[in-house]
Structure formats: structure tokens, C-alpha cells
Amino acid sequence: MNRVSFGRTRLRVTDLGLGSAPLGGMFEAVTEDEVHRVVDAAWSAGIRFFDTAPLYGHGLAEQRMGDVLRTKPRDDFVLATKVGRLLRAGAPPEPGQAFVGVPPVNPVFDFSYEGVMRSVDESLGRLGLDRIDILHIHDPDDHYEQALHGAYRALDTLRSEGTIAAVGAGMNQAEMLARFARDANFDCFLLAGRYTLLDRIGAKELLPLCVERGIAVVAGGVFNSGILANPNSDTHYNYRPAPAELIRRALELKAICERHGVDLKAAALQFPLRHPAIAVVLTGPRSVAELEENIRMFQAPIPDDLWRELEA
């Protein structure tokens, strides 16, 4: 694990970060104790970059990650959370609701200036911290204009007041992030699943643009929801059951890796950092065992020959 600079911001981060969608109970519930143990183990292993969101576990991920981070020296870690959804009792569930074992509140999209300011206050309350370093506009896929004129303006204000260090956006698509890069002054992006061994669309337009502008990119979803961790018939791709064609391609990648004596997971975790725009890779374990395995994979040696073959 290396300490690296984070684009043009003053932040220095570890190049492996802890993501918390799975810890929020994505697809299956995770106990509070296990979340605490995972965050603690990540800290012990040297991870100092933490990513969360109000959506993950409908507040539980922020709250439980905060329980541990509250006990650590605040200047020793960098924390990112997100804006764009408020958690409200009585709101209807989002279609495709992915989190299990969550409190009786549901996320409601709100990319307005006031909604974002409220969201930040509520996140600080759940985290029990007095500062957030990075705020991403979360999943504004169907709300570009409001995100730019409402949410972005709010985050820009927080940045110019010095309340936060970096303004970002976190999405599962590269195209809209490239639009954001052109239309406003973003410091960083969280790109989920679009720069991985299986899907390199991010390298087409977005990542070169980020290199040009000094925008730091955090790579999330590097296993594409599991298919690159375990390519088998009941795995997920993009949060859904994986199509057969992609499972076949993942198995091909696995075979190439194994010819070089490398675990597919190791290549999947390390691949994004080979791009100069990518500053951090997130790992999203749901147990201490998974975390420890992923850290081992992140540090496993990979011969240049394998990279040449995978990048050809």
C-alpha cells in the first residue's frame, strides 16, 4: 500500500481504500459487530481511505464506519461520503432495492442545493465526525441539470469555505462523469465498474480527460459485482445476475492469469491503478476474511508479461 497524492487536492491517500456498500448489507445483511471488525482490521492493515454513502445500508454504513473512525486521529485518514439521496421514513422503496437488514427509512433523490446541505448535516450526524474530506454527487444519472445547478453549487460552496477538501461525483457510468469534468470544476470522481479487467470503457474518454485536468479517480467495483472474484454461474455483474457471455470472458481472463501463476482477483484489484488517472482502488469486503484476502491480492506480485497480455 502506498501513500499517493490525490489529483490536485492537498489530500494524501492510501492507494487501497475501504468501500462500504457491501458492509451496508448489499444483497445480504452484515452484523454491526462484523462491520466494526472489518473497519478496524482495515485500519490495522494501514488503509487510510474510507468511502461510504447515505444509501449504503440506508445510513448503517455511515453510522458503523463512523463508530470506528471516531476513535482514530482525524488527520490520519481521508473520508468520502456522498450526497443526492435523503433518507426518509415513509418514502417508497427504490426500484431494485439492494440493501438487506436496514432501518425503516428509504432513500429519496434530492440534488437541490438545500437538499445537499441537509444531507451533509445528516451524514455528519450519523458518522459522529465533525468533518468530511470528499463529497461525491451520487448517481445523478437522471438528474444532470439539477446535479450541476443544485448539488454542485452546494459542494462548490462547501469547498470554497474550506469545509471540504474535494468535490466529486460517484457513478456507474463514465459518460456523464466526462460531462461533469467539462462543465464544472471537479476534483475527483468515483467510477464504479467502468475501468476493470472486464469493462475498460472509462479509458476511452473519461480517464484521459481526468489526466489532462488533474482530476483524481477512485476505482470502485473492480470485481464488477463479483464476476471477477468468482466467475461461476451464480455470480453478479453490475448488481445483477451475470450473463453467460460475460462469465465466459471472465473465465478466459482467469485462465490467462493462472498461466502466469496469478489469481484473477489480484489482477482485477491491481489493474485500475496502472492508469495514471486512478489514484485509489476500493475494496468492498463483507467480512474480515474477505478483507484480508483482498489485501493479500492487492499486494501479490504480478509479472509484466501478464500485464502485457491482459492489456493487449
Partner: protein, 270 residues
């Protein structure tokens, strides 16, 4: 007056750049004056020297046109075929106040002694005859040939690009140190403090890692023979324009010689 003594423009949609391999895919897109201008304004840079990227007379001619149309590119380091018999004629055909130097990508030649070929030596002499600087793009491997070259041509100016690219990412580069130090005795040779961030680890470099290398170079050559260059857009692989400048300023301060006077004098910028 702040001078950036080393940067490039390119357009991969129009030309092939053989050196732009997979590792450089992230900067394989057009970069021109429109992209650089705001960076110069943000960082208070007044003028620049545009350096060749291809063994191509066409590129050099185009760079001279770009410079003529620009209000900040004050010099071009171009390319001619130094092995050709008619170097003087070619240089004469390029005649322009904006042509200040010639460079060849020597470190990409298979022969470490390429510079010492008779035809190349004749070509370098013609570059000097034309009143132009010769930019040495070499690594440690080619430094002995470069040293012999500058000792044979005492009546012209040389500039070593990127401090001859020390291997910063691999700990202290003692071979580089031994090979570059003797140039300190050659008063007609200057050295560019450029391209260092991309010789360090692109992700985790710090100004502290560059510092011993910068200090050696400034110690050997002295500020009046050192010049700042951004090496933009190549630098973007490791750092923004601002971070490259900040890192050097953090080490040497805003030194007038390093950040302008040396380049203006050596290249004879208008």
C-alpha cells in the same frame, strides 16, 4: 519573466507517435496551445520553448508556424536528420528566428554511441555553425558519448534534457551521478530540470524524492546553467503542471536564473 524551457504539442489523430506506447495511452490525445495557455496563465509563465517529438521535418515546420501564431512560444527545438550530407542546407531552409535548437531522440537509438558516428558529428557541427543549440536527449547509457561530443564542440551550446533522466523510482541512481557529474566542467553545457516526475513513481512521488537529484544538478551546473521545463503534457502522467512547478520551487525557490534567465540566454529567446 518566467520561461518554461521544455514542453510539447501533439495530435495523435493526425500523426503516428512511435514512442507513445501503452504506458502513455492516457495522454494519447491532442494537446495544443489552447490546452496550455490557461495553465501558463494560472502559473504565471510568460514564454515557452516547444520541443520536437518526432524525427520529422514536417513537425518542425509546423511547430515554427505554431510558434509564429502564438504569443507565448518564443522558441522551437526542432529536428533535422543529422546523418544526412546536407544538414546546413536543411537548416537554412528552416530559417526562422523562432528556431533555437535541434534535437534527436538519441536515447531511442540502439547504438549507445550513435552520437559519435562521423556523420552525426558533422551534423552537430553544422547545427553549431548555424548558431543553434543542440539538445541532448540521453540517459545514463549515452552520457559517455554525449560527454565526448560536447568536448569536441566547445564553440557551441548544448542543453541536456531532463537531467539525462535519472532512475528516481529505483532508489538512488549512482551510475547517473557518476556519468553526469563531469559535465559540470563544460561551461557551454546547460541542464534542464524537467521530466523528473515521470522518472519517479508516477503515483507516489514526492518533492522530497526529487530533491537530491535537483540539488546534484544545481550543484554541478550552478543556477546560471540550469533551466526549468515542465515537460507538459508528458508530466501529466505523474502530476499537473502546477505540481511540477511547485515541486521545483519548493526545492530551489523561485530562482530567476532557473525559472527564466538561463533559458532566455542559452536559447537567445527574443
Amino acid at each position: 519573466m518566467i520561461v518554461d524551457a521544455h514542453h510539447h504539442f501533439w495530435d495523435p489523430t493526425r500523426r503516428e507517435y512511435p514512442w507513445m506506447g501503452e504506458a502513455l495511452a492516457a495522454i494519447r490525445r491532442p494537446f495544443g496551445p489552447g490546452e496550455l495557455r490557461p495553465l501558463l496563465e494560472d502559473n504565471g509563465v510568460d514564454r515557452t520553448v516547444l520541443v520536437q517529438t518526432l524525427s520529422s521535418l514536417d513537425e518542425t515546420r509546423e511547430f515554427l508556424e505554431t510558434a509564429a501564431a502564438s504569443d507565448f512560444v518564443e522558441g522551437v527545438v526542432g529536428w533535422v536528420d543529422l546523418t544526412a550530407p546536407n544538414v546546413a542546407d536543411t537548416l537554412a531552409s528552416l530559417v526562422s528566428d523562432l528556431l533555437v535548437g535541434i534535437r534527436h531522440q538519441v536515447h531511442d537509438e540502439p547504438d549507445p554511441n550513435w552520437l559519435l558516428r562521423d556523420d552525426v558529428q558533422r551534423g552537430i557541427a553544422e547545427v553549431g555553425e548555424a548558431g543553434l543549440v543542440y539538445d541532448l536527449l540521453v540517459r545514463t547509457r549515452e552520457l559517455p558519448a554525449a560527454l565526448e561530443t560536447v568536448r569536441r564542440h566547445k564553440d557551441m551550446s548544448f542543453v541536456i534534457d531532463h537531467a539525462a533522466k535519472p532512475h528516481i523510482a529505483g532508489g538512488w541512481d549512482a551510475e547517473w551521478e557518476r556519468a553526469l557529474a563531469p559535465f559540470s566542467d563544460e561551461p557551454h553545457v546547460a541542464c534542464k530540470l524537467s521530466g523528473l516526475v515521470t522518472e519517479a513513481d508516477w503515483k507516489s512521488w514526492t518533492p522530497e524524492q526529487l530533491e537530491p537529484y535537483v540539488r546534484r544538478v544545481v550543484g554541478w551546473f550552478g543556477p546560471p546553467r540550469c533551466m526549468f521545463g515542465s515537460d507538459w503534457p508528458v508530466c501529466l502522467l505523474a502530476a499537473s503542471y502546477a505540481r511540477v512547478m511547485d515541486a521545483l520551487q519548493q526545492i530551489v525557490g523561485l530562482d530567476d536564473a532557473i525559472f527564466g534567465e538561463t533559458a532566455s540566454r542559452v536559447y537567445g529567446l527574443a
